[in-house]
Symmetry: C2
Subunit: 265 residues, 2 copies
């Protein structure tokens, strides 16, 4: 199983939108997909119509009451299952602080009752707290959704540093697969300059032992497209809401790129 | 002094952009303005060209080493001073957990050495952690930057609940001044529907004792305008970078609305 954390501490870059729509695209390509909502704002759960008031067991219980992740999975579509969040999850961050093995709690709750799936996508909250660290300790790969804006670029160094620290101390197989440009607008000043800076940053790490030494900028860019922001209010992925939109084309293209990276066997 | 927290746990809505540009507009209108960066990603500091590597004392020392806020202020322009952040601030969140009066640390570091100014704007991080709580315990007013998107709307109830809890337990004068629509795009499906929902939510609270019983939706809407995203890379406010842009007009309009709310005396 490929376990991919959608991680960027910068807020509003497109983590949740990518988790939902990439997940839906992979499920449509007959991969068995699990989505994990690790954000106390439960945006992934809302997007899929899983209102916190209707949820009895969620990622909060997984982290604080030793419930195996498998036990909280809900089916949302063919080949697509979700471990939902509720706003209680905000409390988990504080409860975890004084626990032993607080960073690897999620990982142990997956290993205790393994799940048969092809992909597991984890939606991380903004910030660098314990909930994101739990996601980084479980995952095999990290995808960094990024907006081609100056403020979003500032956090990249710290983000990479965090991945390196997690790899050194908790998760030796963690590697960064790529940077995905989201809400992309072909504006001359910003996007060209920033794309170049990111590519140059990744190029210079080739052959090193950094977790991003094999990372690429995905060829697919997710263009800014208001239909992607409308789809959550209908509790649908972009493929159900606006199958002919640029958003649907972009996320389908991304899924193809991800599938092409699969190692046979 | 009016102390205004720019608060919304949802990421990427426009908190930092509003803090910088509203601050600059108020300073240009001859108000003495202080900005406080409470985000470990230090986006406000980056935006104003205050790189963490050049900062010796910041909000981290204010919260963990009893340094009065006044001592870390840096002048960035006429009538405009900033208490910068560095990425160390992420550590303050954990260090505060076991402190007495952990929610009101910032407030006590302001009261210990009062600052003479007309406005104090606080840039909050995404999330509902102790850094945001410290901002809510210090402030007299809250402005909620909001994107007219479904996912951003989901968090409003929790956001309001948090303000009510802070008012009840720590800061009896806290009130919500208004909701500011940011990155506004006049798309028929989303923005019209969401603006109505927010207005109706605020209307029904009139006459109650909720912290938002007097809150309005600001008449000024900050339109989506790429120049606002370009300005930070030049370490400038929108007024210096693109004084004739829609972004400059919108933030100038907002400052006028805020000034008109001033109580004489
Ligand atoms: N390509 C796009 N075009 C237009 N709108 C988008 C696009 N991607 C995401 N959005 C919208 O932008 C907002 C931010 O995206 P999203 O919530 O997915 O980001 P996030 O990184 O998960 O945010 P947070 O840090 O708060 O978890 C949402 O309202 C979403 O609907
Ligand atoms: N009106 C606007 N038009 C275009 N871009 C904008 C506008 N307002 C903000 N932005 C850009 O959108 C991104 C998000 O804005 P900003 O960083 O101010 O939000 P935030 O709420 O402070 O985010 P965070 O939750 O990460 O602190 C930034 O890259 C910013 O430059
Ligand atoms: Mg999200
Ligand atoms: Mg910010």
């Amino acid at each position: 199983m490929r376990t991919i954390a959608l991680f960027n501490q910068k807020g509003g870059v497109g983590k949740t939108t990518t988790t939902v729509n990439l997940g839906a695209a992979l499920a449509a390509a007959h991969r068995r997909v699990i989505l994990i909502d690790m954000d106390p704002q439960a945006n992934l759960s809302f997007h899929l119509g899983l209102e916190p008031k209707n949820i009895t067991t969620s990622t909060y219980q997984v982290l604080t009451q030793d419930v195996p992740l498998k036990k909280v999975l809900l089916r949302v579509d063919r080949h697509l299952y979700v471990a939902p969040a509720t706003t209680d999850l905000a409390g988990a961050e504080v409860e975890l602080v004084n626990m032993e093995h607080r960073e690897t709690k999620l990982k142990s709750m997956v290993e205790i009752d393994p799940i048969r799936a092809d992909y597991c996508l984890i939606d991380c909250p903004p910030g660098l707290g314990l909930l994101s660290l739990n996601a980084l300790c479980l995952c095999t790969e990290v995808i960094i959704p990024l907006q081609a804006h100056f403020l979003a670029l500032q956090g990249m160094a710290k983000l990479m540093e965090t991945c390196a620290t997690v790899r050194e101390n908790f998760n030796p197989i963690l590697s960064i697969s790529g940077v995905l440009f989201c809400q992309y607008e072909a504006t001359p000043r910003l996007s060209g300059e920033i794309t170049q800076e990111v590519k140059a940053f990744l190029e210079q790490a080739r052959g090193s032992d950094h977790p991003w030494s094999h990372a690429q900028v995905f060829q697919t860019q997710i263009r800014r497209n208001i239909k992607l922001a409308e789809a959550p209010s209908f509790n649908q992925s972009i493929f159900k809401y606006a199958p002919n939109s640029a958003g649907a084309a972009d996320y389908a293209g991304l899924a193809q790129e991800i599938i092409r990276m699969e190692v046979p066997g």
